[in-house]
């Protein structure tokens, strides 16, 4: 079966790939581009472990066909730190022990960054509803929510 030739940008770099029509963006990120930081937890858009942004919009990459992303700007967890400087959210997740197993963490960080890009002063309720599409089975969410709220406060200062 013929493959699609896609040209796009991922984490600021021009990227080209070939994909089958049924391949999702997550499939291509993980299996072809070896960007395995985005995780497959459900493949149905329910867990958020594969969260990325496309042109700034938060999406589950398991629900996006790879063939759709030509000419767009994709950001994944691999592009979140700036060189050797962690993003403030990444550092705060470490300082607050906001992860246990860590498999949901890339998705939470991408989703939380998308929130703070839009709303620099979210309430706890706003954080909780924004992150309701990201499942964490280890932490009970407490330390994640605190880390996001505290990062927002730091970034406002």
């Amino acid at each position: 079966m013929a493959k699609y030739h896609i040209t796009t940008r991922i984490n600021g770099d021009d990227v080209e790939f070939l994909c089958a029509p049924e391949q999702t963006l997550l499939d291509v990120l993980r299996d072809d581009l070896r960007l395995t930081g985005s995780k497959e937890g459900c493949a149905s858009g329910d867990c958020g472990a594969c969260s990325v942004t496309i042109d700034g919009r938060l999406v589950c990459s398991c629900l996006v066909l790879a063939a759709e992303v030509g000419g767009q700007e994709i950001e994944t967890i691999e592009g979140m730190a700036d060189g050797d400087r962690l993003h403030p959210l990444q550092q705060k997740f470490l300082d607050f022990a906001a992860l246990q197993c860590g498999v949901c963490t890339p998705g939470f960080l991408i989703a939380a960054k998308a929130l703070l890009d839009r709303n620099s002063n979210p309430s706890e309720t706003e954080v909780r509803y924004w992150l309701a599409g990201n499942l964490c089975r280890c932490t009970g969410y407490d330390k994640i929510v605190r880390a996001v709220l505290d990062t927002a406060a730091d970034m406002r200062d």
């Binding site: 070896r34 395995t36 089975r137 009970g140 969410y141 605190r146």
Partner: protein
């Protein structure tokens, strides 16, 4: 080999010592990898020439497999191997081995990983293929022809116990029970615990309450599906990479099922994306190895979420009967329970553990618990966090709450009046060692949460939970590098911060900076045997192993210093990361730091290594008490948890943040168990909600912050006083929430989950509406 100076006093507040690292909130050593996407989980490994493996699963809950025709699949271009039951030798009968908190029967295991005579549940593996890509593997599965003879099935445990029920294992004999010759049964085991005479105890009671409860199976629901990469070579050696709680245990299972020498398999645990007990067993791994053995290429297999729900875990659903008697002044006179747990299609529900824990938070003169392990046409249950205890204690703690209410006593005072302490005979036999049940109850009672007023319409509930915790076989090695930094090699999978807690104990013992200790999880060739991560054992048993390895290392360091100074080793002490001469030698000799000894180790005798291997005993049992407030939407039946406090005895919190994390995570899993999670089957025994949309685990907006109180009643058998902390937090939530609902609505629920339709029906029934509560 442990330093007796570090043995805590057990004075109720840890050991009261000031430590440099233990008890701090250091950043975990594996943290950066996990916030940057670098950390490699089960499905993140890619090997050259790697194939993709997929599994064909039974669409039927119960069926004879007359034949399997794989010829068309094998003929498909790109297919490199196809396996069925014929690729696994049968295992001898009756070989049962203990493994962590569960037991392993290889005759069952070989049938669970690949169906033999019958498909025993929907999702049971029938065949597997390895192909050059996922699309071809999926096509190959569709070409496999299976001739099934569909049989009647049974899903409910009570129905499965009735005569005339469909029989799941025709040769099953009931353990612990008389059985007439030739009779067939689904009852795999009967257990009984207790002491005294409950009839005598009930005769002494002023109030007796007797209730029946049901719970549904719930899945561990780790976010990372099972995944592995297997690579077998032509000479019969193999490597396995997998997401597991125990790579040594997985190695043993796989070697047994494939007929390999254990040491021919080198197994590396990936980072694990949650397990909670569900990754203590093997599913895909023997299949991947068998496919790789046929294809002589690496094979990667990963489950879909749907496969995880249909074919792995969960823990048991159950039918429970509880009867408790008490005097009007709040003394429990007798407690009795009958627990019927679903095992799934093979024996092995955690009913014995449930029966042991059921009344453990009470000191009782007359107590009995009886448990039944019952086969049904569902996936074989796997361990889930304190396996068995949450189910039993949900029922018993509900009845305790009700009886306290009837006699007009505060539920925490009622528990305090009946609480066990050191030396009390537990409800399941042994006398308790040092425990913190009373301290935990008092801390809950005195907490601001319990003392604060409720808002109108809300209810408050409490419940106490108990879990044993375990020790077990553990090895650790400290390899000193030439610059004085130390590599800590561990064989226990890190599910939530144990590389941090074990490194902290190593740094504390050695007297060096934490960032000079680099922990890593070795593969199965790197260390002696390590039991799996489970039973809340790693910081306890791993801590003893690491402290022992550090003391071994210090012994060698002191030897080297003695050699350097040419004085007796008895005149050398180790403190604050350096060797110091004592007994009059002090004046002429400057202390030798770890770095200095390391730099010159070639001259003083060569490489310096500290190692310790143990079978850790004396795990500290732990108690927790939870306080929860709920609000109920009277129009929809939706229950909102508005405030939640976990109080639990940790013995000693090595890393308080990750102890709190265990408390919070367990509580929220419990909230899901109480309010949402359940397996729903259609009339053909097929699971109807095999996905996260319909099997609804708590999301961020469902829950409040979870307050925690870490009580520290030191465990005297651990050098820092550690008890396990990971499992007890999931024991109290279901009863605590049910008790809070009873307080809010005046309605006592006896069936889990307390989902909106069930709560709404109960509210309507209580208001005289025709609809009745189920």
């Amino acid at each position: 080999m442990t330093d007796s100076n570090k043995t805590p006093s057990g004075n109720g507040t840890g050991n009261g010592k000031d430590y440099k690292w233990v008890g701090t909130r250091a950043v975990r050593p594996d943290g950066v990898d996990k916030v940057t996407g670098r950390a490699k989980f089960g499905a993140d490994l890619h090997l050259p020439n790697m194939l993709v493996g997929k599994v064909l699963r039974s669409p039927h809950a119960h069926a004879h497999i007359r034949s399997i025709d794989t010829s068309a699949a094998e003929a498909l271009s790109g297919v490199k191997a196809v396996i069925t039951r014929d690729d696994f030798s049968d295992q001898p009968k009756g070989a049962v081995q203990p493994a962590g908190e569960m037991t392993i029967n290889y005759r069952d295991m070989v049938r669970n990983v690949m169906a033999r005579e019958k498909a025993l549940y929907e999702g049971h593996a029938i065949a597997a293929v390895a192909a050059v890509d996922a699309r071809i593997a999926a096509k190959a599965l569709s070409l496999i022809k299976v001739d099934f003879e569909v049989l009647p099935h049974v899903i409910d445990p009570v129905a499965a116990m009735e005569s005339g029920a469909p029989i799941i294992q025709e040769d099953l004999m009931t353990e612990g029970m008389e059985q007439s010759p030739g009779a067939m049964t689904n009852i795999a085991k009967r257990v009984e615990f207790g002491h005294g005479d409950v009839a005598v105890g009930f005769a002494e009671a002023d109030v007796v309450i007797e209730r029946e409860f049901t719970t549904q199976p719930v899945h561990q629901a780790y976010i990372e599906p099972h995944a592995c990469v297997a690579s077998m070579t032509e000479d019969g050696q193999g490597e396995l990479w997998l997401s597991t709680q125990g790579h040594y245990v997985a190695r043993g299972h796989c070697a047994t099922l494939l007929g390999l020498d254990v040491s021919k398999l080198r197994v590396q645990a990936s980072e694990i994306g949650g397990g909670f007990g569900g990754k203590t067993v093997v599913y895909l791994e023997p299949l991947a190895l068998a496919l790789s053995r046929k294809a002589c290429q690496p094979v990667k297999m990963a489950m879909t979420r749907e496969e995880v729900f249909r074919a792995t875990g969960p823990t048991s659903g159950a039918h429970l009967w509880v009867k408790v008697g008490a005097t009007n002044d709040g003394r429990i006179t007798a407690a009795d329970a009958v627990l019927k747990y679903q095992a799934g299609a093979f024996p092995g529900s955690p009913v014995a553990q449930g029966a042991q824990c059921a009344f453990a938070p009470y000191e009782l003169n007359h107590v009995r618990t009886i448990g039944y392990d019952i086969l049904v046409n569902r996936a074989k249950v796997a361990a889930y966090r304190a396996p068995g205890a949450p189910i039993a204690e949900y029922a018993t703690e509900s009845v305790m709450d009700e009886i306290a209410g009837v006699i007009g006593m505060d539920p925490l005072e009622f528990r305090l009046k009946n609480a066990p302490k050191q030396g009390s005979q537990s409800s399941y036999g042994p006398k308790f060692p040092v425990i913190g049940c009373i301290e935990t109850l008092e801390a809950a009672r005195d907490h601001d949460h319990y003392q604060s007023p409720l808002k109108a319409g809300q209810g408050r509930g409490v419940a106490t939970g108990y879990w044993f915790n375990i020790g077990g076989q553990t090895s650790a090695t400290l390899n000193l590098s030439e610059d004085g930094s130390v590599a800590l090699v561990l064989g226990t999978v890190d599910v939530g911060g144990t590389r941090a807690s074990l490194s902290m104990m190593a740094a504390e013992e050695l007297g060096i900076d934490l960032d000079k200790v680099r922990p890593m999880i070795g593969d199965t060739s790197a260390l002696g045997y390590n039991m799996l991560t489970g039973g809340s054992r790693v910081t306890f048993a791993g801590g003893i192993a690491v402290v022992g390895a550090a003391q071994d290392l210090i012994g060698t360091l002191k030897d080297r210093a003695a050699k350097f100074w040419d004085i007796p080793v008895d005149d050398v002490e180790w403190a604050e990361g350096e060797a110091r001469a004592t007994n009059g030698y002090t004046d002429n000799m400057q202390p030798l730091s770890l770095q200095e000894i390391a730099k010159d180790m070639a001259k003083t005798g060569g490489p310096i290594v500290g190692a310790h291997s143990i079978n850790a005993q004396g795990a500290g049992p732990s108690f927790g008490t939870h306080v929860v407030d709920v609000d109920v939407d009277r129009e929809t039946g939706r229950v909102w948890v508005t405030r939640y406090t976990v109080v639990q005895d940790a013995g000693k919190a090595i890393h308080p943040s990750y102890v709190e994390g265990q408390y919070q995570g367990g509580a929220v899993q419990g909230i899901g168990w109480a309010l949402n999670e359940e397996y729903i089957y259609d009339d053909k025994g097929r699971l109807e909600n095999a996905g996260f949309l319909d099997y609804r685990v708590p999301v961020c907006s469902d829950v409040p912050m979870i307050d925690t109180v870490i009580v520290e009643v030191a465990n005297p058998t651990h050098p820092y006083g550690v008890r396990g902390v990971g499992e007890t937090p999931i024991v109290p939530p279901m009863a605590a929430i049910s008790n809070a609902l009873a307080n809010a609505l005046g309605i006592r629920f006896t069936d889990l989950p307390m989902s909106p339709p069930r709560v709404l029906a109960a509210i309507k029934a209580a208001n005289g509406d025709a609809t009745t509560a189920s």
